[in-house]
């Protein structure tokens, strides 16, 4: 490769004026497009997955835009912006539409490229893009349909439609109804509470995905247990639950304390004193009337046997988040002492049971009074499979929560994008000046979504797009909800087929993509500290050499650009 490039590079060194900002801008745009190309094929129900090895050998198979971008470990400064917007779409805003946002941003940039090359000032483009963005968002808002004011049953089925749309493109798409219902139930269970960690997702390898189930309470894996544990009862109805954050173990009370005895006969009293401390603690637990004792710290063998004698179930070393979830679900509070345990701090639930799930035993608390928690136990044939299923469910949960809060949906399958595109084109014609061109290209960029959907499914994108444009051009507006029909390769009414997305996802995607595009456009020079680059080169000696080879000859310019 390097040998092939050699003459061109020499040419560069002599001819090109590197201080000019235009070349910099163009190369930034190219970098962004290249990154978007990686995730391009993951879009839509026929999207493919990526298998990524990272440097320390762990492997991820994913369809989630944000996950892929994160794992790619991108270092190009302009391309990093795309990673950031994907991340923000994922974590802060909605959790879904991460591929969409990257694609849109890259497409805006690609459309801008010819203008930049023709010498349009980037700021002009930016201004028009911002205008177009605002118009687009207004249009989305006006097109959105509200699901507010429906009965719970109706709302549930509508929400599950939204969840199904996002699950469509994932590995678990085959069981989308099953999982969509599960997700909707889980989200409704935790109510409008903002604490997402109240939905626990537990992964148990083995079984098929239909064996996954939802617990309207908390479930966690059996913790490490000492001898005597098996003699405890494993099922309770309406037990009182005591949650602790102390160790129940026979141990020295104070570190570094030392006892000196001068009289051997006192020996026994010291031993007894220690035993009494632990027995007193245990006794208080029993006195409180609790039937299930959970602790974040260890519950020793002595305590295990003590509880077993008194028909009490105990589990030590429960993970912090699980304990918090039990606390929220059962209405109890976590105690840091066993003194003065009153009834109010004890939680309860309808059924507590230890159950076999696959190869593991699970502690399951169900029918909790406050009902503010839900746990999804995921099953699947391989670890990678469950990992990916978890990511997909995360997306679906976020979507449902968003839809529940904002309660407006738009048609998916590229329908909304086509409609905005049409609207912007129409609007552009009423504008005098250069801006008309720019808004037109913005409108064209939006068509990437349906186009990519077709490409991924192996359809003739141009053909389908023409049909869509024609449908959307109807003056009556009846064609507005038409999108790509992924099954037949034609077009169909997405809204009627229940391909729905929450409006907020789309709004945010358009907004973030425009912002990112504008940001990249407004940069005309990157100054990179040469020292840090050499340090990097040392750290990754191999990488440094490889890079040096590629830039041989064009070194001066290469440095400045980056």
């Amino acid at each position: 490769m390097a040998s092939m490039m050699q003459p061109q590079i020499i040419l560069l060194k002599e001819g090109t004026d590197t201080s000019q900002g235009k070349a910099q801008l163009v190369s930034n745009i190219n970098a962004c497009t290249a990154v978007a190309d990686v995730v391009r094929t993951t879009l839509g129900p026929r999207g493919m997955d990526k298998l990524i090895h990272d440097a320390n050998g762990s492997v991820t198979i994913s369809n989630d835009g944000a996950t892929i971008m994160k794992l790619l470990d991108i270092v190009h400064p302009a391309a990093k912006i795309l990673v950031d917007i994907a991340k923000s779409q994922d974590s802060e805003v909605v959790g879904d539409g991460t591929t969409t946002v990257v694609l849109l941003a890259a497409e805006f940039l690609r459309e801008a490229k010819p203008f930049i090359e023709d010498g349009v000032h980037p700021q002009n483009l930016i201004r028009s893009y911002r205008t177009a963005c605002n118009l687009a968002i207004d249009k989305v808002k006006s097109l959105a349909t509200s699901i507010e004011g429906k009965s719970l049953e109706e709302k549930k089925s509508l929400l599950s439609k939204c969840a199904q749309t996002t699950l469509n493109s994932k590995l678990i798409g085959g069981e989308k109804e099953f999982f969509a219902t599960m997700v909707v139930n889980a989200v409704i269970a935790i109510g409008t509470d903002d604490r997402l960690n109240m939905i626990g997702i537990k992964k148990v390898p083995g079984g098929n995905m239909r064996d996954s189930f939802l617990v309207d309470g908390v479930a966690f894996k059996k913790t490490f247990s000492y001898a005597g544990f098996e003699q405890q009862p494993k099922k309770f109805l309406n037990p009182k639950i005591l949650l602790l954050n102390i160790e129940l173990e026979l141990k020295s009370e104070k570190e570094n304390a030392e006892i000196r005895l001068s009289d051997p006969s006192q020996y026994q009293s010291i031993v007894d004193a220690e035993w009494n401390i632990i027995y007193e603690k245990l006794d208080k637990c029993v006195q409180s009337g609790a039937k299930v004792v959970l602790s974040r710290l260890a519950i020793g063998d002595l305590a295990t046997q003590y509880f077993a004698d008194r028909d009490i179930f105990c589990a030590g070393r429960v993970a912090e988040e699980d304990l918090q979830r039990v606390a929220a679900a059962s209405g109890g509070t976590v105690q840091t002492t066993v003194n003065n345990v009153i009834d109010e701090v004890l939680g309860t639930c309808e059924v507590f049971e230890e159950k076999q799930v696959g190869n593991e035993r699970f502690n399951i608390f169900s029918g909790c009074p406050s009902g503010r928690t839900a746990t999804i136990v995921l099953r699947g044939g391989a670890d990678q499979f469950i990992e990916e299923a978890e990511r997909s469910l995360h997306d679906a949960i976020m979507i449902v929560r968003r839809a529940l809060k904002n309660s407006t949906v738009v048609a998916g399958g590229g329908a909304i994008d086509m409609e905005i595109s049409r609207y912007l084109r129409q609007h552009a014609r009423s504008i005098l000046g250069k801006s008309q061109l720019f808004i037109n290209s913005y409108a064209k960029a939006l068509e990437i979504i349906p186009r990519q959907l077709c490409d991924n499914a192996g359809f003739d994108a141009t053909d389908v797009l023409n049909k869509l444009r024609q449908k959307h051009a109807h003056a009556s507006g009846e064609g507005a909800p038409y999108g790509v029909d992924i099954n037949t390769g034609g077009i169909a009414d997405s809204f009627a087929n229940f391909v729905w997305e929450p409006a907020v996802v789309k709004i945010n995607a358009i907004n973030a993509a425009t912002e990112a595009a504008c940001l990249v456009l407004s940069v005309d020079e990157t100054v990179k500290n040469p020292k840090s680059e050499s340090a990097q080169g040392d750290a990754a000696a191999m990488g440094g050499r490889g890079r040096g080879g590629a830039f041989r000859g064009g070194r001066g310019r290469g440095m400045r650009r980056r």
């Binding site: 490039m5 061109q8 026929r46 090895h53 391309a79 030392e258 051997p264 003590y306 391989a382």
Partner: protein, 542 residues
Amino acid sequence: MALAFDEYGRPFIIIKEQEQKTRLRGLDAQKANISAGRSVARILRTSLGPKGMDKMLSSPDGDVTITNDGATILEQMDVDNQIAKLMVELSRSQDYEIGDGTTGVVVMAGSLLEQAEKLLERGIHPIRIAEGYELASRIAVEHLERIAHKFEFGENNIESLVQTCMTTLSSKIVNRCKRQLAEISVKAVLAVADLERKDVNLDLIKVDGKVGGKLEDTELIYGIVVDKDMSHPQMPKQIQDANIAILTCPFEPPKPKTKHKVDIDTVEKFEALRRQEHQYFDDMVQQCKDVGATLVICQWGFDDEANHLLMHRNLPAVRWVGGVELELIAIATGGRIVPRFQELTAEKLGKAGLVREKSFGTTKDRMLYIEHCANSRAVTVFIRGGNKMMIEETKRSIHDALCVARNLIRNNSIVYGGGSAEIACSIAVEAAADRYPGVEQYAIRAFADALDAIPMALAENSGLQPIETLSAVKSQQIKIPTRVMQENNPHCGIDCNDVGTTDMREQNVFETLIGKQQQVLLATQVVKMILKIDDVISAAEF
């Protein structure tokens, strides 16, 4: 890997250490993945069925394993390729969930991949193939349900359970005495099963082995076998109606956990200390005696002095018994684990009808049998065999058989084995394929072809002509309508043992319904995952 070039043909550095990473995408990636998956399946193919062969695996530190169990083979192979790892996990999940059929599931996934490759070459979109497979798997699972039989069993009527376990064991090296082992497995599971809740805690079944003797000496003990002996050689070797004290405290003077120091400044004090120590031993033994214990089982060790004293007082004792075994003993004998001597009471003692120490052959190894326990909900399968590898393989086989028995208790539906269920499904799927418009039809047909791989492999491994045998059996299934079903006869399978009939009902070859369904679903799931990958990005060293 090069992602992009600028106008002047120079590559961008977008990804960290870009030069070192390799990237495989599109059809090439799929082809590479499929061939990785298939090569794993190819290894296991010859292990399938009663005439399947074993594999010998030698670990880096020289341990040799000989096994026929799919999950174990893959586990030990230490696969590095990611797609191959998926197949390993596939087999492992079948092992976790069902415990049996680990070879079959991989062979099926391999043949699904093989069929998918052909479809990919014809230009069918991988996701369409996966979707078609999914539709087909659903048809197959439903059909399995239709051809399944329920059978009844009870505490005394275990014949049908034994037959099913025998099918599992017949493919293993232990098939010489499969009848005996199957009975042991079924009895063991029934002993610990909670028939009402349909729950079986396999933790309560201890499978232990010792080199020596012959496989026929393998026995089921309603109680516990511990690899320990009496702490003093002169203690009695056999105790009738033992009252067992189960202790987690050592026969030693108690120690406070806090750092401590005893200052001795006079001879009197030293003697007092000495006396006190002696007194402790005396008291401890006395306390055990007082509550009526006739045997002491202790998690920790004890002094020679205590040992002597115990011997002297005629109280047999066992020391250094592990926590898990201690717990099992407690469950079996209905005793309580006692953390300190002061708490010892008569109620907390465990009861066992017979405790005996048994020595093996001419060796000095001894083991302790605790039998006729108050609560027989903990049992031990004790395996004897000529060598260590044999015992290990028998353990795995027994595990499979135990799992099968457990699954039957959970769900008492069975299908017939010998590939008959697969052939029946293949016919059903093939017939259903024509109803689906679109590209999926091809995938569904391919699925039917893939299902044939299992009977085909069975026939091949049994030295029969695979294609001839399969087509003969297939036509038999369609031709002979049984009285009950009035349609096809789904009981015809491959006659691996050359018995003379292809009817698996007569041969008594059963498999569990849930096991078979799980195989179909799991294989489809993993194949979908593999087909969905079109881009493999890896760092250079991989």
